[in-house]
């Protein structure tokens, strides 16, 4: 019994971990340090992080809406990519299927658009 097929995988894991550790620890040592106000603040998606009301305040729901819309298109791209790669093999059937898929996504998109989901205010 030999473990040889797993050795490269373990090696890759170790290498990856070492690289991550190395990059993170070397950056503060060798990189330049020029601070400004914006840089010191916590990164919160473009929102003013402070001053916050007591209890943390509320986070406008609009951001979530946009994020969810983004995810839909994100996933659409993920679906489109493998189809594009093997377009030749899938042929007309694959094309029709993909069109149907895009149509359903767009139905949802038009709904969001018509019902004002894209208006910021």
């Amino acid at each position: 019994m030999t473990l040889s097929p797993y050795v490269p995988i373990v090696g890759l894991l170790i290498l990856g971990a070492l690289f991550a550790l190395f990059s993170v620890s070397i950056a503060p040592i060798v990189g330049p340090k020029r601070y400004n106000r914006a840089k010191l603040e916590a990164y919160e998606c473009g929102i003013e992080p402070a001053p916050q009301p007591v209890g943390g305040g509320r986070f406008p729901v609009k951001f979530y809406l946009t994020a969810m819309l983004f995810i839909i298109f994100d996933i659409e791209i993920i679906f489109l990519y493998p189809w594009a790669v093997s377009f030749d093999a899938l042929g007309l059937f694959g094309f029709v299927e993909m069109v149907l898929f895009i149509v359903t996504v767009f139905i949802a998109y038009t709904y969001v658009w018509r019902r004002g989901g894209l208006n910021w205010d």
Binding site: S86, D88, A89, L90, I107, T110, Y111, R114, R115
Partner: protein
């Protein structure tokens, strides 16, 4: 690159699912483009018309027995029967959902997410027009249910589960009155439901590890021949079963049921109690009978124990309920137990009796919730049992109908409830599961008490000062209640046609 071989697709067999999905998408477009005023009638016609069209296709395809689209969907006797049942019950539920005459603006609100008690929310509760997205949502749920009962591999089944569940989570939150309860119901259902989905998915993963595939036939073969560890099989089956038993509200995965049934708008509760139960049991039957037939002796005692537990929990807790919707929820749990008795029988009668029970129960429960939606006072539906005192004096017809439905739930002969209990218990004794029948009989005695209490409340108690009025039902609620009562009576007096149908439909294709 060479061409991939496309799997053959039997579009006609899939057409009910496709029609409903298309109708739901159309419904979304109607929401987007139709003027506000036209939306309600258009959506109602669209949803009911689509369901009827799908039902017609199911009837036309009634002799199809095929595994299609790459073995992902099996259109066979049970799936066609269950699809037909879901569509029929769905149409009746859509009638209840479509009722707008009972309350200004209908039983739903436009925005579920508004803070309860805020000014906007109050305006909304006072009769602002409700949303019409419920129709596409309900139709999406229906299409998911149709796929759920026909899914022949576990991943398709999972997707169908999500397609049917997500709209239901939303629908639960839309009650016009008692907003807080409604929101609580939706959140609870969502959290526990996603938990159950996760269990299901985890089970699928383990079974994939065991069988090397997610197809039900593949699992069936692997159960017979696989060299892999049985732990994967049993753990996978257990997790899978948890996901499914959650949907059908079997103990100990039932805790969401009373809260959700109580909080959800009554038409939606009716929809869930009738259609979701059919879909859940359809999938459970298929998984257990097709994929895990080889280990039936191992899981039979476990599911049997769950059945007993479910019957006991449902019937005992129903005794103490003070709210009619919660009472019906516990009754639905107990009925899930009786249905499980049929499932555990593990013979052809088990399948056919479960199918019969599902249809019979579905119609009765639809009519019961239809009646519940009619008994109202100034704050909406008066669901507290004490408010039903003396209802028989105020509106004898309605009370008589509800009495009949209660007797059907209690399993008195000449109602569908009796015949369905009879066939289920008969199948169980045939399958050598007499202990389940004993448990079923004992719990039937217990749960007869709460049903009887409702009857006593309505007829034998004196009406209180504040007995709620009974709204004059619109034609849609009347039709739904009428259909439900008629089916309950007809299936009790002349059950033969449906019994024959379930008998013919009780073979799974493999």
């Amino acid at each position: 690159m060479e061409d991939l071989n496309l799997p053959p697709i039997d579009y006609a067999a899939l057409s009910p699912i496709l029609i409903l999905f298309g109708v739901a998408c159309l419904g979304v477009l109607v929401e987007a483009f139709a003027p506000r005023r036209a939306r309600h009638p258009v959506q109602l016609v669209l949803a009911i018309g689509g369901s009827v069209a799908a039902l017609v296709m199911v009837v036309l395809e009634r002799n199809t027995r095929v595994v299609t689209i790459g073995d992902a969907v099996a259109i066979d006797g049970p799936s066609l029967f269950l699809q037909g049942a879901i569509l029929l019950l769905g149409i009746v539920s859509l009638l209840l959902i479509g009722e707008r005459s009972l309350e200004a603006g209908g039983p739903f609100v436009a925005q579920a997410a508004l803070t309860v008690g805020s000014e906007k929310d109050n305006r909304q509760a006072q009769g602002a027009p409700g949303n019409t997205e419920i129709y596409p949502l309900a139709v999406f749920a229906l299409s998911g249910m149709l796929l759920f009962v026909a899914a022949n591999d576990l991943l398709t089944m999972f997707i169908a589960l999500e397609v049917l569940s997500l709209p239901l989570y939303l629908l639960c939150a839309l009650a016009r009155r008692k907003r807080l309860l409604s929101q609580e119901a939706a959140l609870k259902y969502f959290l526990l439901g996603s938990y159950a989905s996760a269990f299901f998915l985890f089970g699928v993963a383990l079974l994939y590890g065991y069988a090397g595939g997610v197809n039900l036939q593949q699992i069936n073969e692997a159960v017979a021949a696989s060299q892999n560890s049985d732990i994967l099989l049993y753990a996978g089956l257990a997790l899978l079963a948890i996901g499914l038993l959650f949907k059908v509200a079997a103990a100990p995965f039932h805790v969401w049921t009373p809260d959700v049934y109580q909080g959800a708008p009554t038409p939606v509760t009716a929809f869930m109690a009738a259609c979701t139960k059919v879909a859940g049991f359809g999938a459970l039957l298929r998984v257990l009978y097709v994929a895990f037939e080889g280990v039936q002796w191992d899981y039979q005692p476990v599911i049997g124990t769950i059945a007993v537990l479910t019957m006991i929990v449902g019937s005992v807790l129903a005794v103490t309920q003070q709210d009619i919707k919660r009472l019906l929820a516990y009754s639905s749990i107990a009925n899930a137990g009786y249905l499980l008795v049929g499932v555990v029988a593990q013979n052809r009668e088990g399948v056919s009796s479960t199918l019969f029970y599902l249809v019979a129960y579905g119609f009765t429960v639809l009519a019961a919730f239809g009646v519940v939606s009619l008994v109202r006072d100034a704050d909406g539906e008066a669901t507290h049992l004490s408010r039903w005192a003396g209802l028989g004096r105020r509106s004898p017809l309605l009370a008589a109908i509800f009495t009949f439905l209660m007797l059907a739930f209690a399993g008195i002969p000449l109602t569908s409830g009796f015949i369905s209990k009879f066939v289920v218990f008969g199948a169980a004794i045939d399958g050598g599961q007499s202990w389940l029948v004993v448990a079923g009989v004992v719990t039937s005695m217990i749960i007869a008490f709460p049903y009887l209490r409702v009857i006593v409340m309505m007829w034998l108690s004196e009406p209180a000062e504040t007995t709620p009025t009974v709204s004059v039902p619109g034609w849609m609620t009347s039709a739904a209640v009428f259909i439900g009562v008629l089916a309950t009576l007809a299936l009790g007096v002349v059950p033969s046609p449906l019994l024959d149908l379930t008998n013919d439909a009780s073979l799974f294709v493999r």
